[in-house]
């Protein structure tokens, strides 16, 4: 009776540990995803300039990882889980993460165009971090040994991809130029309208922009 009880007790406790480790690890991944996504969100909103956006993402990431030291290790050694610090640039990066994706999957198409030579899309902007599930990869079950022979598979990237809004600096550069207030706008962004090149014709906005009061300024919705 005692032996049966001990056997059953050991089995229940052992199974409980296994299930706990698995569910807790998967839950932690959710939290890690939130941290990375939140950082990507901080990076995405318009800021003073590009560096300020990157800095905002790094600050958000540091603050959130510090709030969950058991789950993230907070840049130090945690026995259960580990997320990299912002200084570990081979694991944490803010901006165009396509090169980091390429390390894991060489098939990535950076241009992401619909057809060869087509419009280049930029979907790989965001934040990349990683999480190491040390709780699982280091788990050793009596009589059955370690649960994995490839612990490196329990260290994987987490990506939050969110396109960044243009910064104030980029908007100013886009609209302002020493020679002409709209030269960058036409050369870099908006296609030159046919009327623009024909001195005999004038578009409505051009008429308006030459009004004496100067209240109208040419603009369009490009995120600025």
């Amino acid at each position: 009776m005692t032996a049966e009880f001990l056997f059953a007790f050991t089995m229940v406790i052992g199974s409980g540990i296994l299930i706990f480790a698995l569910t807790f690890a998967l839950t932690t991944v959710e939290i890690a995803q939130y941290i990375v996504w939140s950082s990507a969100r901080a990076h995405a909103v318009g800021n003073k300039d590009t560096d300020s956006s990157v800095k905002a993402a790094e600050t958000k990431y540091s603050n959130l990882t510090a709030a969950f030291p058991l789950l993230t290790g907070n840049g130090s050694d945690s026995p259960w889980f580990k997320m990299p610090a912002i200084t570990e640039k081979n694991k944490f990066f803010v901006g165009d993460i396509s090169d980091m994706i390429k390390k894991k999957d060489s098939a990535i198409d950076k241009a992401n165009a619909a057809e060869n030579g087509g419009e280049v899309r930029h979907p790989w902007i965001g934040v990349e971090s990683s999480i190491e599930l040390k709780l699982l990869s280091g788990l050793n079950i009596p009589f059955l040994g370690k649960i994995t022979k490839t612990p490196e598979e329990f260290d994987f990237p987490i990506r939050g991809i969110l396109f960044r809004h243009p910064s104030m600096q980029e908007c100013q550069d886009f609209f302002q130029n020493n020679s002409s207030p709209t030269s960058n706008k036409f050369s870099q962004g908006v296609k030159v309208m046919p009327e623009e090149n024909n001195s005999m014709q004038s578009t409505k906005w051009k008429d308006l922009s030459s009004d004496a009061d100067g209240a109208y300024s040419a603009n369009e919705d490009n995120g600025c």
């Binding site: 296994l18 899309r121 009589f143």
Partner: protein, 104 residues
């Protein structure tokens, strides 16, 4: 007299059931340990514990890194061929069309 005593003693020793439990306990223990070793052997050989953990972690890894639970997917339209992980990402041009989500 001595012969009689000897006869009686041998009859008593045959009826002695002390030690029965110990023998059965040893037999049961041997059976249980044997079964345990057999089961753990199968579990180890078929990597059942590894599969229990590696499969869900692999799915989660693909989702957090590439936005898909799958190892590969099939593109649509001009990209109608087997796609790799990054091409299965919802941000990828290969998945820009979603007219048939079952193939994504």
């Amino acid at each position: 007299m001595n012969a009689y005593r000897g006869k009686r003693k041998s009859k008593l020793s045959l009826r002695n059931e002390r030690g029965q439990f110990a023998i059965e306990a040893v037999l049961l223990m041997a059976l249980l340990i044997g079964t345990f070793m057999f089961v753990t052997g199968i579990v180890k050989k078929q990597n059942m514990i590894g599969r229990l953990f590696e499969k869900p972690v692999k799915s989660i890894r693909n989702m957090t890194g590439f936005g898909t639970f799958r190892e590969s997917c099939e593109g649509l339209g001009a990209n109608k061929k087997k796609q790799n992980l990054s091409q299965c990402h919802p941000n990828s041009i290969s998945r820009a069309l979603s007219s048939d989500p079952s193939k994504l």
